[in-house]
């Protein structure tokens, strides 16, 4: 068997199985949605918020299973509820935001653990925590596709406003655009995105999906449009690599996908021509820019 056949088989053999095809679909869709949002998460600096929202959905997921509701519903209620709670406590106490986030998300996560232990037979904790992408049902897939479409649609309409919010809130306010509303929108998108990725990689690793692709792209380009494209590319390649590698090596799928993303980040961190530790060739601001400014000043 030559090398080419080996490579083709590496992909083709697992694809004969329905569960692999489903897993691949979920991993890619979740990866794309997370990657798109991760660009703004990176720029706004919301990695802790991503961590918080993902952990806080646990009680919602458990309650949904208990009452036979779609898991996305409970996750959404608790995800957005926690964000609102963080906002309220932050505004009405002297405790700093990162501490408030730490309190709220761990408390929610603890509530989830207690609920799971109260009804052990109905839910498999490890599936919620670490994902169960090989066992997604048709209903799960439908929910994921609908929510993914909602997030991508809203981002398509409002991406310029989100970038405005990330770049200069005061200017947004000064031209009559409410930055508080944009913040709420971005938090809402984060909550929905977390739910989309939950099945793929589980609660613990969701934050990786909403940070790593954007952070990787941020090291590779200075253009926001390119950052979006690179981020999505990284996520798709990582999803495909992760799913197939986990099949062949018989290891955790969610873990493999996130490891693949982390590998991409490590490569960008080291070798990015623009901002990599080993690849960096130019400094900022460029000497040319300073010279040009001074020559204009002299005129």
């Amino acid at each position: 068997m030559d090398a080419l056949t080996a490579v083709v088989d590496w992909f083709a053999v697992p694809m004969q199985f329905d569960f692999v095809r489903r897993a691949l679909l979920v991993a890619v869709v979740a990866g794309v949605v997370c990657a798109v949002l991760s660009c703004w998460m990176t720029l706004v600096g919301w990695s802790l918020m991503g961590d918080a929202v993902s952990h806080a959905v646990l009680p919602g997921v458990v309650l949904s299973y208990m009452f036979g509701l779609p898991f996305a519903l409970g996750a959404l209620v608790f995800g957005t509820g926690s964000v609102a709670l963080i906002g309220v406590v932050n505004r009405t106490s002297r405790v700093k935001e990162d501490a408030v986030i730490g309190v709220v998300f761990t408390a929610m996560f603890a509530l989830g653990l207690v609920l799971v232990s109260a009804v052990p037979s109905q839910t498999d904790l490890s599936h919620i925590l670490f994902g169960n992408v090989l066992g997604v049902s048709d209903t799960d897939i439908r929910q994921i596709l609908v929510l993914a479409a909602v997030v991508l649609g809203v981002v398509w309409v409002k991406h310029r406003d989100l970038t405005l919010y990330a770049f200069d809130r005061v200017h947004a306010h000064a031209i009559g655009i409410n930055p508080r509303l944009l913040e709420t929108l971005l938090l809402g998108l984060l909550a929905v995105t977390v739910v989309v990725a939950l099945q793929a990689v589980g609660i613990i690793l969701v934050v990786a999906m909403v940070i790593i692709p954007g952070a990787t792209a941020y090291l590779l380009t200075d253009r926001f449009e390119r950052m979006l494209a690179i981020s999505v590319g990284v996520a798709v390649v990582a999803a495909v690599t992760g799913v197939f590698a986990s099949y062949h090596l018989n290891v955790s799928t969610g873990g493999s996908v996130v490891l693949a993303q982390a590998t991409a980040f490590a490569l960008a961190y080291l070798f990015s021509p623009l901002h990599g530790v080993l690849g960096r060739r130019r400094r900022r601001p460029t000497p040319a820019a300073t010279a040009a400014d001074q020559s204009t000043a002299r005129q």
């Binding site: 405005l164 820019a289 400014d293």
Partner: protein
């Protein structure tokens, strides 16, 4: 310039603004009035309430007492009409942010665009015109952080121009600008004034004030002095505001 609702009204009018942060009194009955077509320098030390007054004028901080009117309109209306341009302090901007100079200037137009903020030909024209006026056309594709201090300042002024702002608030416009570029920025601001725009700039760099400003206000939680720059910058007055002994140094500040 484009007409305000009340042509005779001051461009910036603050009446008796008092602001507390918790128990701390940040502004104490501050009144301020700047006529259209004037450059007013807002002077004071760190902690003198300059930025609080800016935030109050921008409507980011609610005054416990007092009111703000811009071009005869209440603040919210003036902002919605895009009449207020804001040029941020250098340290408040994320200079690593992946936006080009043209992207930043385009953000000036967002308030007047549709739901998706998709640029129409008129928006592109306004942006190109603003870039031309600030001498940044050749640098439009550069990332904002790749510019020098003076160019960065001009880019944010261009954003206010593209927006069509009649009143510009400039927060420490000379911080982070090297001596060589100061003259370019100063000349640009004067041209905007001559066209009838109103500029309110906060600064602790007193050297620029007599040259650039038509009037000045010295702030130390309350208004300590206001009037022509050389009057406001008299050593005794400055001493009171800055709480330091400035004999001899006052000379430097007034020339």
């Amino acid at each position: 310039m484009t007409a305000a609702a009340h042509p005779a009204a001051p461009a910036v009018e603050v009446v008796d603004a008092t602001v507390h942060y918790g128990d701390v009194l940040a502004l104490d009955g501050v009144s301020l009035s700047v006529q259209p077509g004037r450059i007013c320098g807002l002077l004071g030390t760190n902690g003198s309430g300059k930025s609080t007054l800016f935030k109050t004028i921008l409507g980011l901080v609610r005054a416990d007492r007092g009111r703000v009117r811009l071009l005869g309109l209440d603040g919210a209306t003036a902002r919605r009409k895009g009449l207020v341009g804001y040029v941020p302090q250098a340290e408040q901007v994320d200079w690593d942010f992946p936006v080009s100079v043209r992207d930043v200037v385009m953000m000036g137009r967002y308030g007047q665009m549709g739901l998706r903020r998709r640029p129409r030909p008129a928006d592109r024209e306004a942006v190109e015109h603003a870039l031309e006026r600030t001498d940044l056309t050749g640098l439009a594709e550069r990332r904002i952080g790749a510019l020098s201090g003076g160019q960065r300042k001009r880019a944010f002024v261009a954003r206010a121009l593209a927006q069509g702002a009649d009143v510009l608030l400039l927060d420490e416009p000379f911080a982070g600008v090297d001596k060589g570029s100061e003259a370019t920025v100063t000349a640009l601001l004067r041209r905007l004034r001559d066209e009838g725009r109103t500029l309110l700039l906060s600064t602790h760099d007193l050297a620029q004030v007599p040259e650039l400003c038509d009037e000045a206000v010295l702030l130390q939680r309350r208004v300590i002095a206001r009037g022509a720059p050389d009057e406001v910058l008299r050593p005794e007055t400055v001493m009171e505001a800055f709480g330091v002994h400035v004999q001899g140094e006052g000379e430097r500040w007034t020339h």
